[in-house]
Amino acid sequence: MKVSLSILKELIDIKENIKELENVFNNLMMPVEEIEEYEDDVVFDIEVTPNRPDLLGHLGVAYQLAAYYGVKPPEIKIKYETIEDKIDDYVDIKIEDERCLRYSGIVVRDVEIKESPDWLKRRLEILGLRPINNAVDISNYVMMVTGHPIHTFDLDLLKDKKIIVRKGKKGEKILCLDEVERELSEDDIVIADTEKAVAIAGVIGGEETGINEKTRNVFIESAYFIPKYVRYTSRRLKVSTDSSYRFERGADIEATILAARYAASLFYSMGAKIVSGIKDEKVKNVEKKRIKVRFERVNSVLGTELKESEIKKIINNIGMKIISENDNEIMVEIPSIRRDIEREIDVIEEIAILYGYNRIEESLPLLETGVFNDSGIKKKKEVESILTSYGFNEVVNYSFLSKEESGFSVYERKALKLKNPLSLNFEYLRTSLLPSLLKNAAYNLNREQRGVKIYEWGKIYFLDGNDYKEEENIGVLIAGEGEVRWNLKNKDRYGFFELKGVIEEIFENWREKVSFKPSDKRSFVGGISFDIFFKDRKVGTIGEVNDGLKKFYDIEKRIFYAELYPRVFMENFEKKGYTEISKFPAIWFDLSLLIPNEVTYAEIEDYINSLNLGFLEDFYPIDIYKGKGVEEGKRSVTMRFVFRNPKKTLITEDAEKQLSKIKLGLENKFKIKLR
């Protein structure tokens, strides 16, 4: 809303100090977005919140400034004389639709439609409105000054000189002032003559009865409609005007006459004649609101120690009338322009604003709420620190995907669709973090990055039968190779085992182990694919991204991806107590095993574990070799076996006995020989 300093100065007695005014506007809930300085005026472009329609006119703004400065309330100067003709002989008004609470009007005769005088054109230009002709300009100017929208009809074009406020009829059509024909419904409030609709109430006028070059006699409409119905029609017809904007937020029902009279006085000043009498139809009398305000409540909500006299002074300055009072409270009457003030708290806010938010001395709440203790937060931080210390960078993505991408998932789940997406690229909610991370990988691999290690801890959304669900998952992606450095060489390629290692490490945080079971059905998987299990519970998926997906995202490098379901450790895991560190030495043996290619390491591992060897503390591969010296169809795996007796020093023979059980067993079960 553009506020002209010249107009304000005509309404109230204020000084022209731009810097100070800006500050005052800011402190009165009218944040200044821009100040335009002209030779003849200064315009403050202020932001008006939806609860303050009173600030959509200079009058309302002036009320606030007058209250702040403690000067006389604003006054609009109206001056005209009437002719002897009576308005009843010119127009008849009937309200049939009670959603129009008040309908007022004045008739102006012998108008000459022409350009407005220079002062008016200049004012409108400064306020950002285009001057059209004197009748239209008067409407606009009255609205900008009083905040109340008015409409002008060519009286001679109103059939039977009759105005009926009624519901729209089904199928009824009206050609509007913007030359668009609109179809009305029974939900709309319509201004009509005896034959047809002539305006959509509060929204836009009809072209046929509008002001034109030949207009001689004008009917000024100044009405009040219940805001939500204007809003409904404005939204349904997708037409928003300066008028509908004000009516739907709530105009001042008491201002109809003022606005009509101000318009009449402007017509008068341009040589028109004003017919005597004012039409003023009301559905019912609207009482002014009265609100009880308790002094103690004001201070307890604000945390202040305002004296009764201070509170009363502020109330008076805002233009609220104190009707009655006692030691503890006052009853105040609210001016009709302040539609937003309906409750005690609204008055308290008004007091706080006029007193000044920045003058209220601060304190801290004294509340005993105990210590917050949530293991989930701590666990999340631990897992994040494992991921980052393994070199993975966190990414944060939108939750939206295109239809095609929504199918790239580690699940076979139904994705939710948005009714009103930003674009087709953002139509579905992700059921998996995979597409988001692939997009990030592609982005980075195309921008000078040799390798990408990223993770996202974010929500996925899906339909489980008919039920909507959202869950948190962790997506982890690795691709390409590490940077070449003098110590690292080129061999530091990011592959499946780097990814598998960090997954294992996450569970190792609680000294738990996961198993990896081959899976064949997941769409993102190329050759390698496993489901991750903790005991019998599936806790994630890991594998290589297939060529189809890589092509979609235009990626050439191999990509490995895992998606984990953190619920298992967020809910169930606790750190275990410690295990005694043995004082006795271990003995270890390295064996080079020639393993047939059809036997997996996991099978060997399971088998050795199943032997339940008492002294076998640990075993793991230390070297894997294929090629010269190893026969076709086999590979050589050197494994280290660590034996220890936790109770006393282990005798070599005892360890060797257990080692030979392993050798024998592997040979019998898998035909594994030593190299």
Binding site: N26, N27, L28, M29, P31, P50, N51, R231, R249, S300, L302, G303, I345, E349, A352, I353, Y357, N358, I360, E362, S363, L364, P365, L367, E368, T369, V371, F372, D374, E384, L387, G391, F392, N393, E394, V395, V396, N397, Y398, S399, F400, L416, K417, L418, K419, N420, L422, N444, R447, I454, Y455, K459, N466, D467, Y468, G482, E483, R485, W486, N487
Partner: protein, 330 residues
């Protein structure tokens, strides 16, 4: 004559010095010529007594200057040996150190953590809620009924999903969690709610359809606007430093009254940083809390906005492009 001896000794020293390659032999050479107890220069001084008395002064000076020359040469040689040692030894210690590639948390999450830590230290508890919300929790319960113009300011994504009468949407703010918490727990309450929120805005430098908020809610007996001010000023000082200037401007949110926007002064410019206010009695009545007995305040801050301000990031897009060259800077 002694002059010749001095000259000869100097030549001998220069020849021997040339052969020196390491510190031990340098020390030996030093002992040989200018050792404290024995040393060839010291011996020369002994010879001085045999010279003509009128010659002694001059010769003494000559020996002294020889001694100075030897000392200077030795110390230069020592420096030379030490610097050479680094270059010719088996290791050059001037290469860059071994670096392990470390990952980082996303800058937004780092700031979210910082902000949460401050409130956790002030005794707040963390609550969370769903990102897909119902119209009721996101709007109606927060005193934003269907026809309220305030809805225009929340460009909302609606879901093509129905269950019961309520419309489903992506939450436009974290405030629905206020309602969920107050329905579930009794005052006193002192909570923060971190989370993602959604608005139907085309992405550009200052808009994003996804961004992050942190909501705060305090409910109890005697909670006042002064408490709200004190809390937020304490928080902003912890985040931006004790010298930060803060101002409160009246504003409007349907679920708080009185409401305020809070600005901080950074580099001579007032920047809007959060919105807040006293919980509106209409919200209390929706969740069955007696607004005569209890009062409360709520605040909401945009993590993306604070991050931009604090780290002078020019565009919101950087946060969601996930360019590793950006992420690794923090």
């Amino acid at each position: 004559m002694l002059d010749d001896v001095i000259e000869k000794l100097k030549k001998e020293f220069i020849d021997k010095l040339k052969e020196i390659k390491d510190e031990p032999s340098l020390l030996n050479l030093k002992g040989e010529f200018i050792g404290r107890k024995r040393g060839k220069v010291k011996d020369l001084f002994k010879e001085l007594g045999k010279a003509e008395p009128q010659e002694r002064g001059r010769l003494g000076q000559a020996i002294n200057s020889l001694k100075t020359f030897i000392e200077k040469s030795l110390s230069e040689k020592e420096k030379e040996i030490k610097s050479k040692k680094v270059k010719t030894d088996s290791e050059d210690y001037t290469y860059p150190g071994f670096r392990i590639e470390r990952g980082r948390k996303h800058l937004l999450q780092q700031v979210m953590d910082d902000v949460m830590d401050i409130f956790l230290k002030m005794g707040y508890h963390i609550e969370t809620g769903p990102e897909v919300e119902t119209d009721y929790f996101n709007f109606t319960a927060l005193n934003i009924p269907e026809e309220h113009p305030a809805r225009d300011e929340h460009d909302t994504f609606y879901l093509d999903y129905e269950k019961g009468k309520d419309k489903y949407l992506l939450r436009t703010h974290t405030s629905p969690v206020q309602i969920r918490t107050m329905l579930k727990k009794k005052p006193p309450l002192k909570i923060i709610v971190p989370g993602k929120v959604f608005r139907k805005d085309e992405p550009d430098d200052t808009h994003s359809p996804v961004f992050h908020q942190l909501e705060g809610l305090v409910v109890g007996e005697g909670i006042s606007f002064a408490d709200l001010k004190g809390t937020l000023i304490t928080f902003l000082k912890a985040l931006f430093g004790d010298d930060i200037q803060v101002r409160f401007r009246p504003s409007f949110f349907p679920f708080t009254e009185p409401s305020a926007e809070v600005d901080v002064l950074l580099k001579g410019e007032w920047l809007e940083i959060l919105g807040c206010g006293m919980v509106d009695p209409a919200v209390f009545s929706e969740v069955g809390i007696d607004s005569e007995k209890y009062t409360g305040f709520a605040f909401g801050l945009g993590i993306d906005r604070i991050t931009m301000v604090k780290y002078r990031v020019k565009s919101l897009r950087y946060f969601y492009d996930n360019d590793l060259r950006f992420l690794r800077q923090f």
